[in-house]
């Protein structure tokens, strides 16, 4: 919708130019990438927008041992990437269930991190896949882990004059698999709960490493560290998991809201944990 108090709109062509506008603008200035989160409401406090869609920040590139995803990469671009599908499946899966196609055509992965809502679908995969976020300022490039980036509902560490530049995710060796699951009331809704799981297996097909992150069930996405430890050595057997997944309850602190009761979120977190671990495992063994 119309931004009723907006006075200026900047759409620079380079990252340096963008940073210098952010630093020199005196009033309330906000970055927009796709704008799908920003324009869903009238932000009366905002006087200027800095559109970053011309900075060349939409890319998916292989680097030495990791992949680089530009912050302004759209979900549609992610879904068109075989590299992501093959190696970072949880990201691909999450991109496939964000909003609807006409939003995915323009909404970006960086915008999801910028919004920092606890239900953001792009976020749990970044915890599970051990991503690093690269933040650019005029003077430096800072690297932070998702754990240190999100500080609360709709809050992250980004300050004025900082742009999230890219996301780096390490390639895994050996046999591995990942998955993302989302519970929502309908196909375009925000998540009631979501989860991303990454597992690696050894020669005996037992889980040797696991990373599990849940969203929409705490002020920020949370790692289920106890559960991660508990699945190691298993073959993701359903009966075993029924018991083990109770460990998610130690790390989540869900609220009741229009989407769901806290009680339901407790229960469904266990269900999606089991589902996602089994799927990630099946992918790791090549099933």
């Amino acid at each position: 919708m119309k931004q009723s108090n907006l006075r200026e709109y900047f759409r620079p062509k380079t990252l340096d130019e963008a940073l210098s506008i952010l630093n020199s603008y005196e009033g309330e200035i906000k970055i927009i990438a796709g704008g799908t989160d920003m324009l869903a409401d009238d932000h009366k406090e905002i006087e200027a927008l800095l559109d970053i869609d011309q900075l060349g920040l939409n890319y998916i590139e292989k680097a030495d041992g990791y992949i680089r995803i530009g912050s302004a990469t759209t979900y549609t671009e992610i879904l068109n990437s075989d590299e992501i599908y093959e190696n970072f499946r949880a990201i691909w899966d999450s991109a496939s269930v964000v909003a609807d196609k006409s939003i995915r055509n323009i909404a970006t992965i960086g915008g999801n991190l910028g919004s920092a809502v606890p239900s953001g679908d792009a976020i749990p995969p970044l915890y599970a896949l051990d991503a690093t976020l690269v933040i650019k300022t005029t003077t430096e490039e800072k690297k932070v882990k998702p754990e240190d980036f999100f500080t609360g509902p709709r809050k992250n560490i980004l300050k004025k004059g900082e742009i999230l530049k890219e996301i780096q995710i390490p390639y895994s060796d050996g046999a591995f698999g990942s998955d993302f699951e989302k519970i929502a009331r309908n196909s375009v809704d925000l998540a009631t709960a979501n989860i991303a799981v990454f597992v690696k297996i050894d020669e005996d097909k037992k889980i040797s490493d696991a990373r599990i992150a849940l969203g929409a069930v705490a002020p920020t996405v949370v790692r289920a560290d106890k559960l991660e430890k508990a699945v190691i050595g298993t073959k993701a057997e359903e009966e075993k998991l029924e018991e083990i997944v109770k460990a998610v309850e130690d790390v989540i602190s869900p609220i009741s809201d229009v989407r769901s009761s806290a009680d339901y979120r407790y229960k469904v977190s266990r269900v999606i944990a089991k589902r996602a671990i089994m799927k990630a495992y099946d992918r790791a063994i090549g099933k």
């Binding site: 919708m1 119309k2 931004q3 009723s4 108090n5 907006l6 006075r7 200026e8 709109y9 759409r11 927009i32 704008g35 799908t36 324009l39 869903a40 409401d41 200027a48 927008l49 559109d51 869609d53 549609t76 909003a99 609807d100 196609k101 006409s102 939003i103 055509n105 323009i106 196909s187 375009v188």
Partner: protein, 164 residues
């Protein structure tokens, strides 16, 4: 005193015609299409990206024009419902919507047609699931989705030259 905001120049192509307009910084693409260009076929329902009535095609992709800043569309190529029919008449999607009565009140129809046109432009032979995915962001509260889905699938066949 409320400061009048500065106006910015925006250039874009709509249905093949080049336009230049001066718009406020906070204006949306939907509003420029409707108010500045008089192309009121693009509807605004929720005005916050949920309902899909305002769907247009921008640079080949379906987007919701109520959450696109007009200035983001600078330099873009846009298609609206007014540009779907050509000198030969209605587009096959439109024909099938009429044929199957996939329309009741009609408010969501332009959005549904733009979302499905974007799909058929890039995928000539979509599955039913792909059709449902493409119109997943278009809310209809009276006809339902069954007839629009059938109409889009039939239009795809027609575009592929299949006899029906």
């Amino acid at each position: 005193m409320i400061l009048m905001s500065q106006k910015y120049k925006v250039n874009f192509t709509v249905n093949g015609d080049q336009y230049e307009r001066y718009v406020e910084a906070g204006e949306t693409l939907a509003s420029v299409l409707r108010v500045e260009l008089g192309l009121t076929g693009t509807k605004v329902g929720c005005d916050r990206g949920d309902c899909g009535a305002c769907t247009v095609i921008m640079n080949g992709k379906a987007v919701k024009s109520c959450i696109i800043p007009a200035l983001k569309a600078d330099g873009a190529e846009i298609q609206t419902i007014e540009g779907v029919a050509d000198e030969n008449g209605l587009h096959p999607i439109q024909q099938e919507f009429v044929e199957l009565a996939a329309v009741q009140c009609g408010y969501c129809t332009p959005g549904l047609i733009m979302a499905s046109k974007a799909l058929l432009d890039e995928n000539k032979n979509p599955t039913e699931e792909e059709v449902r995915e493409a119109i997943g962001g278009n809310i209809c509260r009276c006809t339902g989705y069954e007839k629009p889905v059938q109409a889009i699938l039939k239009a795809a066949k027609k575009l592929n030259g299949e006899c029906l």
